[in-house]
């Protein structure tokens, strides 16, 4: 259906080309080594009581690429992010970022090293204005040290630069009008936007977005995708979790699929989306079929029948 879709027409730029080239000859196996990995993960395991939330054997993230991480609900994607970014302690495992071992490193140091994540359930700093939220993201602020903070002259200049950058981002994220409102007064979607914009203020090397577009208006999503691609042009690596397949297809260079804690498949978007295992575990048969009224009836029945079959299967398991 999407063989000649127009959305791949976006101007193919250097970085994109580089990324595509890098991925071109790669095997489609889970855990395949990449030519220039920024993040290398080995044998990360996290259990909650009897439940193994994450059990990743080996995964590499290519530098300068946009990688999507997909998988059914409860596959362990967020938990995996938590391990990598120091918000939770893995039961075992090792990972390196830019060659530097990162297990056991506290969250703020991970972020400082250039690996920044967003939260799926947003964490707006409610009683700070949207602008302050943004400014907070900036790194190496002179005014963030106690003694220098007392002398405004030392940090005013930098603050202005930061503000400028923040304003830029806010405009892109359609939040400029909310600049001076408390972040706690934002709608669900706006919080998502702020969450992502704030992470970008950090100017990280690797940005890890946890469902950035869930709940964001599709028209806005579309315009933001351009921005994400820009990030790649600026040399940033993007790793994101998303359930919106249109988006995954549109911007990702590489897709990693997780299920039940493990990586089950890897590959370029198109390949992955036609992978029967992925369709079976994740996409479902009709994920991109239009639910137009004419077809609807039959599809409904079909889907139902399928579902029932599946449920039976599962209950038998």
């Amino acid at each position: 259906m999407h063989a000649d879709s127009t959305n791949t027409v976006t101007a193919t730029t250097e970085r994109k080309a580089a990324a595509v080239a890098a991925f071109k000859d790669l095997a489609r196996d889970p855990g395949v080594p990449k030519p220039d990995p920024i993040l290398v993960v080995d044998k990360v395991v996290r259990r909650f009581g009897g439940l193994t939330a994450v059990e990743v054997e080996h995964v590499e993230i290519q530098r300068g690429s946009i990688t999507a991480l997909i998988g059914p609900n409860g596959a362990g994607k967020t938990t995996f992010f938590n391990q990598l970014t120091g918000f939770d302690t893995a039961d075992s495992g090792e990972w390196t970022f830019n060659g530097r071992p990162m297990n056991g490193v506290p969250a703020h140091k991970v972020a400082r090293a250039g690996m920044v994540r967003t939260f799926q359930l947003t964490k707006a700093l409610s009683r700070l204005t949207v602008m302050e939220n943004m400014r907070l993201g900036a790194q190496r602020q002179k005014g963030e040290s106690f003694f220098r903070a007392l002398l405004p002259n030392l940090w005013r200049g930098q603050e202005d630069e930061i503000t400028e950058r923040a304003e830029d981002l806010l405009t892109r994220f359609k939040l400029a009008a909310k600049r001076d409102d408390f972040a706690g007064a934002l709608s669900g979607g706006q919080r998502k936007l702020l969450e992502m914009a704030r992470a970008l203020m950090v100017q990280p090397e690797l940005v890890m977005l946890d469902e950035p577009m869930a709940g964001v208006n599709p028209a806005l999503t579309q315009s933001l995708l351009g921005h994400v691609k820009d990030l790649r042009e600026q040399g940033m690596t993007v790793l994101f979790v998303e359930h919106d397949m249109d988006m995954v297809r549109d911007i990702s260079d590489w897709v990693i699929v997780m299920a039940q804690g493990a990586v089950i498949a890897e590959g370029p978007p198109d390949t992955i989306m036609s992978d029967p295992r992925v369709i079976d575990a994740y996409l479902g048969a009709h994920h991109d079929a239009p639910l137009s009224e004419t077809e609807l009836q039959e599809q409904l029945h079909e889907a139902e029948a399928e579902l029932e079959a599946e449920i039976e299967e599962e209950t038998q398991k």
Binding site: T78, F81, F87, D88, F119, Q120
Partner: protein, 386 residues
């Protein structure tokens, strides 16, 4: 001890007088000037099998004008010199003491737990850190006192009436005060400070009507203890502990199992969503307040029964109540029980090593240490990030 020779000299050694004990073992020496004297017991005149306890046979009392000064030589059977302390009659061993203290710890811990349960329930459902909870405890005790001593009822019916009345007052408090504040959207911090105001208000109302002194219920005061193994306790203690434990378990289980109990936890989590699920949030909160008030009152009565009543009695244990609630894990009913028991036990048991004036220090230190290893409290659960 008859016939023991006593020599009295001045401090510098000039002899003043000598005396010999009479049949009762007493003696008397008149001195004419006030000052320090030296009194020596002539060991040689003691019977063969007796010795002066502590070894020294010299005492140096100071005699003041117009008064007599008594000098005492305690005698003991002569024994091996190295081990006098062990033989002293009646000293209880470390373990008997520990057993008694453990019992006291349970006794106190259960009372705290009862008070803590009320606090925890209210905190759990409304997010209110109620600094006036101590006053609710006092209120129960004073109400029971009013019916007991004022009206002249026996303590048991008086207590029942007080608990019911306190429950009603708890209801009224939410119906007319806290509920109205919630409706206005008053934040939890503002509510917390308001509760400090309420505490002040109530406490001084009590002071005006009850007075500043200690009082006791008409029955069961100073009930003589009975010995059970290493423990000596009054029968009222056992009955009280039984009631406390029963109430704690019943309420705890009710919270876990009954529909209203679950609804209470749901309201605690997310009032708006609870309302959206068809729960009458105000009604649930009122039930909780009613129960909280009644349980706090019961705690007050139990405290008054085991100790005495005073207008600050609740305030004085408020910190322990908070410690219990926190140690167990905020907002969990069984947590309050476990936490309070630990607090009670540590208060008492720590006196085996620290001076009793510092006994709260022991319990509070344990609180800090436990939270170091379990920041979410003993029964609390960690929240998921992300």
């Amino acid at each position: 001890m008859n016939g023991v020779k006593i020599v009295v000299t001045t401090e510098s050694g000039q002899p003043v007088a000598e005396a010999t004990t009479n049949a009762q073992g007493t003696w008397q020496v008149p001195v004419d000037k006030p000052g320090k004297y030296k009194v020596t017991l002539d060991v040689a005149t003691l019977p063969k099998d007796a010795a002066v306890r502590g070894g020294s046979n010299v005492r140096t009392p100071t005699v003041y004008e117009g008064n007599m000064s008594t000098v005492l030589f305690a005698l003991q059977p002569k024994g091996a010199p190295g081990q006098p302390a062990q033989e002293e009659g009646g000293e209880s061993s470390f373990w008997t003491q520990a057993a008694q203290l453990a019992f006291e710890g349970l006794n106190l811990g259960l009372i705290i737990a009862l008070a803590a349960l009320g606090l925890s329930l209210i905190y759990g459902t409304t997010g209110l850190t109620n600094f006036a909870h101590g006053e609710l405890v006092t209120l129960g005790a004073i109400l029971a006192y009013a019916f007991n001593v004022g009206v002249g009822l026996h303590l048991i019916p008086a207590a029942v009436i007080a608990v019911i009345l306190a429950g009603g007052l708890g209801y009224a408090q939410d119906r007319f005060f806290w509920g109205a504040l919630r409706k206005r959207g008053t934040g939890t911090i503002a509510m917390m400070i308001i509760s400090i105001g309420v505490a002040l208000f109530l406490r001084y109302v009590f002071l005006i009507f009850f007075g500043g002194q200690n009082e006791a219920f008409a029955q069961y005061t100073a009930q003589p203890g009975i010995e059970i193994g290493p423990i000596s306790a009054a029968p009222k203690n056992f009955v009280a502990m039984g009631i406390e434990l029963l109430v704690l378990i019943v309420v705890g289980v009710a919270l876990l199992r009954t529909r209203t109990g679950k609804a209470a936890r749901a309201v605690a989590d997310n009032p708006a969503l609870a309302s959206s699920s068809g729960i009458n949030v105000d009604r649930v909160i009122r039930i909780i307040w009613t129960m909280g008030g009644a349980i706090a009152a019961l705690a007050g009565i139990m405290l008054g029964l085991s100790q005495n009543l005073k207008y600050t009695m609740g305030q004085d244990i408020l910190l322990l109540i908070f410690a219990g609630v926190t140690l167990g894990g905020l907002g969990t009913a069984f947590g309050a029980l476990v936490g309070s028991l630990i607090v009670g036990l540590f208060i008492q048991l720590s006196t085996l090593w620290v001076p009793p004036e510092l006994k709260s220090v022991g319990a509070l230190a344990v609180l800090i240490i436990v939270l170091l290893f379990r920041p979410q409290g003993i029964l609390g659960r960690r929240e998921r990030i992300g």
